[in-house]
Symmetry: C2
Amino acid sequence: MSTPAVINVGFVLYPDCTLLDFAGATQIFAFTGVFKPIWIAADLAPIPTTEGVTVNPGATFDDHPPLSIVFVPGGGSGVGKAMLDPKLQGWLKQVTPQANWVGSVCTGAFILAASGALDGCEVTTYWSARPALQLFPTLTVVPGYPRWHVDELRHRFSGGGISSSLDLALRLVELIGGVEMARTTQLANQYAPHPPLDSGDPAEASPELVISLTQSQAAFTASLVDATNQVLAQS
Amino acid sequence: MSTPAVINVGFVLYPDCTLLDFAGATQIFAFTGVFKPIWIAADLAPIPTTEGVTVNPGATFDDHPPLSIVFVPGGGSGVGKAMLDPKLQGWLKQVTPQANWVGSVCTGAFILAASGALDGCEVTTYWSARPALQLFPTLTVVPGYPRWHVDELRHRFSGGGISSSLDLALRLVELIGGVEMARTTQLANQYAPHPPLDSGDPAEASPELVISLTQSQAAFTASLVDATNQVLAQS
């Protein structure tokens, strides 16, 4: 294999990001022993997540090793703020052109799109956020609700909602590190998922539940639309 | 529904615990709005995980709200230490008799077994750790590699390795909060897993990979056996 000894994966953390968006991929990458997850933020202060727990960045925008992969998790109310945060957006504009692979999970796609890093690219996102992401005229939201989408031509990747973080990371390990490395971290993590229910995909869940959740997420969706319109007005 | 307004879920953190063991379940619980994940440790110092990242307890053994559920994640070298840690074990002996449900993910079962909380119970654990867990004469390791096992009679639950955290938590939400609450958090988390490979279950992975990983985990397994023998010698 010609893979380097260490492949640094920089996860961008910001207040109100969603835990599993980055923790799931971190877990899959960490057990390869080759991909090294690094949690990066504006400063080293603890990061509150949408789950009510806090985690710690291991590096800052101003001081981190070179990144092979830039990985942007989604979140709650923090997403719109991150789309309009000059420091975070400036950092993305600086590091993404130098990285080999750049991508997101869930509504992290909005943060990355705001930086211009998804211009001309194919992307997926959280199921109820698909229409809002389509407001960006320079990207293509792929059909349906895939667990991940890899735009191999442009070296971009994206995951669906939250838990897709694991499937996406495993696909990236397979693509970049090879199938044996991917199989090894999958078994090491005993990643043979088998949920007791089948409501995880909007195409399988009951219409009543999809409608109900879409309505309860209406304010969040509106915040994404608002931030997207502000980003587009600036550009 | 007669479910209480808030169901506190206490996750026991210790140095070298494994991120997804607790982060996966935290994510599933948090999106119910009813189950409240609380990360608890001996003190509020950041907890290093086996993934090379750190997270923060939100409460301590000496100061936390009453817990409906006690949840013990697995880990690496920290597991043997936690099995023999008087403070952590003393805390488990104090809180588990008062909790409605008590359980573990992965090698967290060893820590819980060391406290006596699994005496007479049916349990599962990480796939390669099954033989070591069988050294405890007072518990029954269930056959195969289930994602979760619920011992409904004794109000104990256990998950397989690491990523089983999500499936187990979803089953607990279904059992305690009802099927509609479980379906809602599943769709909110877009938890319709679909790994790109099928090596997550030792019964499906290639024999060569299972043998290779079992060998590379030999020192870890030996540390579990050693700690178990020390616990049994003390009792």
